[in-house]
Amino acid sequence: MQEPDSPHEHDTPEDAWKSPKEEEHKTMQIALTPEELCALAQSREKLSARLGRAVVVVTVALAAALLYNVYRVDQPWIRLGQAWTLGVMVYLFGPAFERGRRASGASEPCAQFLARQHEERQRGYLRIRRRLFLFIPGIVASWWGGGPLTAARARGLDSSSRLYHSLAGPWPFVLTVTALVLVWFAFGKAAEKAARDREELQHAITP
């Protein structure tokens, strides 16, 4: 014998789709007035602007520290390295400050919207990846000029300690470049994933 009808079971998928559970239906009511939506949109804009300002502050602080080193440190190689890194930072992050908030709710057809998103992701990862090695001349110059030892002395590290001796060797340079290479690979993987997503999407649009 068949069981009595459950309120959550339906004759067709369309009926099932259009008949949510009553309690769900109640909690999912959104009744915002245009004024409330306007206030919400403005608060999102403000939050986005605040985040942008925070990034600017951190970048400016880093740039200021590099600039301070350029003026204060006597060693010319370290000064050159710091100045180079400062230039690379301005070149890499400067244009990012000019970009505004991206609209997530664009009105273009969904396939185009997704394709654009994947493309922007891939392009962004590749752009950073290509430019990562611009940091290397600055790292080489700073290391060659004894940057790690100068920093250790400035922090009062004992010159007889093991750490001090290891900073005198090639390790700071090797570790920094290894980290840079790992980041380079990670961005490459992320770009590959974005390209794969784009290809899959293309396949879904035109099989």
Binding site: P34, R44, E108, Q117
Partner: protein, 181 residues
Amino acid sequence: MDRGRQDALYAEASAANAAAIRRLARGYEADPDRQRDMLQDIHMELWVSLRSFDGRCSLRTWVYRIAHNVGASHAVRNRRLTSRLVDLETLEARISSVDGEAEVEHRFSAAILLDLIHRLKPLDRQVIMLYLEGEAAGSIAEVTGITAGNVATKIHRIKRVLKQKYLEGAADARTGQSART
């Protein structure tokens, strides 16, 4: 566009499509709290976007595009989840083949349907949700930006997948019933 016209368009769009937008949010997000957040995002983006509504497509198409684009952004951002999503083709292959002529009496559950939708990649998810909303292939093509022919192929797959899930549900129910008796 002036603010009064924007508000009026939003009121019209919201009144006509509120239920469809709610269902769409359920299709993109399983967690009720996140569903509410997404719903709020959709309404906000819809209101903002209507400033540039130019009437080149119907208001309904516009609403669907905005809502699905917000939902798809949400799905794409959730990387951990995205890696497990599949397309209709894969889903169809995974579900075991059944005899299309079999007689079944089981009724369809919304939970089974949502579970199936949550496993799909954004574009296929959009097509299945629009199909379930009762939109025609042409209209789905206009919202999603894929060709009507391709939409028709996807709808054919959706019907087969739904039928197979339907039959699986029936088998589960029969097993449950015989266990109870």
